[in-house]
């Protein structure tokens, strides 16, 4: 999911934050960060799931800052890995008094799924959430790794 798409969802908030109409923003903060192409094309770290296939395991990494361990659901169904999470902040930001000068962070829930490139032992999968990054370690099935057939060219 890219940044532009996420913004569209929050459309109503955009003009004030982006168009510089907001006098308060100008008076308190004058942003001098350069908006590099990297920022526009890819949400920093918010890009989709990263899969690392190693000899004995597959390691999936997904940056998902601001979640609670309890709100994260990891599921392996056949060769599909699915990750779902609610943003913990979503609930507490109902306060109408909150005045956003700038709003770039998404408040949407995370939902990602990916087809795993190798067979895994789903029952032995481990997941860890640390500093806003979810890491899922999926041990590979041995058989798959050993079953390399060498086909001779005659």
């Amino acid at each position: 999911m890219n940044m532009m798409k996420r913004w569209n969802v929050d459309d109503g908030l955009l003009p004030a934050a982006w168009g510089g109409l907001n006098g308060l923003f100008r008076s308190v903060f004058d942003q001098i960060t350069d908006f590099g192409p990297e920022w526009m094309s890819d949400r920093a770290g918010g890009k989709s799931l990263d899969l690392k296939v190693e000899e004995k395991e597959i390691i999936a990494t997904l940056p998902m800052p601001g979640c609670n361990d309890e709100d994260i659901e990891v599921e392996v169904n056949g060769d599909i890995l699915s990750i779902r999470a609610e943003r913990s902040e979503e609930k507490k930001e109902e306060n109408k008094e909150t005045h956003f000068i700038r709003r770039e962070r998404s408040t949407m829930s995370f939902e990602e799924s990916v087809r795993l490139p190798a067979k895994v032992k789903a029952g032995e999968a481990k997941a860890k959430y640390e500093d806003g990054v979810l890491t899922v370690t999926l041990p590979r099935e041995k058989a798959a790794a050993e079953k390399t057939h060498v086909v001779k060219v005659k």
Partner: protein, 116 residues
């Protein structure tokens, strides 16, 4: 022995250059302070740094994430107005979200005057 040490050191230096990324932020204005919320997955209080120099606030945070084998560093800079109390800026970090509270200086606070 000395030679091996020197080689090890040079190995460390050939680590791939970090990729600098601009983290998304929310900036929220309250009555007495302005809050900046940075999204910095893979970084924590030990790897994040806030610096204010001549009214320029810079947030730098090393992340455990990598991109094409290169470590990710989040960095974003803001110019602060004179109306903020730099001495009392506080920061906390949780689950890859860094929250900075910047108190407004007394003169920037809204004074409500009651019409009688």
């Amino acid at each position: 022995m000395n030679d091996t040490n020197a080689m090890e050191k040079s190995d460390v230096q050939t680590m791939p250059e970090p990729v600098t990324m601009v983290p998304p932020v929310d900036i929220i204005e309250g009555e007495n302070e302005v809050t900046i919320v940075f999204e910095v997955p893979g970084a924590n209080s030990k790897t994040a740094e806030i610096e204010v120099l001549n009214g320029i606030l810079t947030m730098t945070a090393k992340s455990s994430l990598t991109r094409d084998g290169r470590p990710v560093v989040f960095k974003r800079t803001f110019r602060l107005a004179d109306d903020v109390d730099v001495e009392r800026i506080s920061a906390k970090s949780e689950d890859g979200v860094l929250t900075l509270a910047i108190p407004k200086a007394a003169r920037a606070k809204v004074h409500r005057i009651k019409v009688e």
